[in-house]
């Protein structure tokens, strides 16, 4: 692939990605104070956050194919997530919760440990 066509390819991806980010700001610039926009601004972020959690944990499907089957990283993922929730409810220190949960997950995955 020539340098020019590679640059064209990257520019296409960059423009398409930026378009999805900038369109609301351009199209709805005058509507920022509209009650509907304020409503979305208040309730959409928490909903998105929860959806990102569901998406991140999507590999955990214990009942797929009619049997207990969570894949190699399924159970460690759930246990590490519970560790994060527990640590956070207990200490409410974001960094501690994240490091604690990630360390637990890495340990389980690298040792190949799963219930």
């Amino acid at each position: 692939m020539s340098h020019a066509s590679l640059l064209l390819f990257i520019a296409t991806c960059a423009l398409a990605t930026f378009a999805t980010r900038v369109i609301p700001f351009v199209a709805l610039a005058r509507q920022a104070e509209h009650p509907l926009i304020l409503h979305l601004g208040r309730y959409l972020p928490p909903a998105v956050m929860m959806i990102l959690v569901i998406h991140a944990l999507r590999d955990f499907r214990p009942l797929a194919e009619g049997q207990l089957n969570a894949g190699a990283t399924g159970w460690p993922m759930i246990l590490a997530s519970l560790t994060v929730v527990g640590l956070h409810l207990w200490q409410r220190n974001a960094l501690l919760s994240i490091i604690g949960g990630t360390a637990a997950y890495m340990t389980m995955v690298q040792l190949g440990w799963s219930p």
Partner: protein, 234 residues
């Protein structure tokens, strides 16, 4: 607050993203080199595109020899969830001045999460939002650079470190719940997320769930808002 302290404060906030972006960026760099993308192009992608899943897709399409139209459509589809991010940040980004174009450009899932989790008194701190966006991209670019340079010769066993991003989303969900003290958005998320999980293929899951959640919020707004004052005026 001095400039250095301001950067340090933003840096602390982005640390969880750093734990996720360095290894994921490195994974992207390694993959790009493996499919034959030159190092400079991999780095340019992290600088100019700056979208995690989008860049993995781009490399896959590049390897498959896809056409430009195909690439544009696939990228738009994959990243269309960003449309809804912008919707909920319209008011917050108002008056951000010269920082605004970059703040919009750098709006990844993780940056959006950090920004919307800021306490109300810092929600309109545009300098802070700008620093968070820039630092997050710095972690991503550094990761890509390391991946492209040393590739698969990396000795450190980092398997599983990408869970840091999952942990970040969990923590931010808990923080959002603590602040809002309302079940509504979480119930909507469980319903649309669960529905998307059952009904949609993996690549459309995020977009489907976030789009559906926005529609439900729109319907709920319509239902609870009385009709135009014209009829109700005495």
């Amino acid at each position: 607050m001095s400039s250095l302290n301001a950067w340090r404060a933003a840096g602390t906030l982005t640390m969880p993203v750093m734990f996720g972006y360095l290894p994921l960026g490195a994974a992207f760099g390694i993959l790009a080199i493996e499919v034959g993308v030159p190092g400079w192009a991999a780095l340019l992608m992290s600088l100019a595109i700056y979208a995690g899943a989008g860049q993995f897709l781009a490399v896959a399409l590049l390897a498959a020899g896809a056409g430009l139209v195909e690439v544009a459509v696939a990228t738009l589809m994959l990243n269309s969830r960003h449309l809804f991010y912008g919707l909920s940040l319209l008011k917050r980004f108002k008056g951000a001045g010269w920082r605004k174009p970059y703040m919009i450009f750098s709006l990844t899932d993780e940056t959006y999460s950090l920004l919307t989790a800021l306490p109300p008194e810092r929600a309109r701190d545009h300098a802070l939002a700008f620093r968070i966006g820039l630092l997050n991209q710095t972690w991503w670019v550094l990761g890509s650079l390391v991946g492209a340079l040393i590739g698969s010769t990396l000795e450190f066993d980092s398997r599983g470190i990408e869970f840091a991003l999952t942990a970040l989303f969990i923590v931010l969900t808990l923080e959002q719940a603590r602040r809002l003290r309302q079940a509504l958005p979480f119930v909507i998320a469980l319903a649309t997320g669960g529905g998307a999980l059952l009904l949609l293929p993996d690549r459309h899951l995020l977009m489907g769930a976030i789009g559906a959640a926005s529609l439900v919020l729109l319907a709920q707004y319509r239902l609870q808002t009385p009709d135009q004052p014209k009829e109700s005026r005495p």
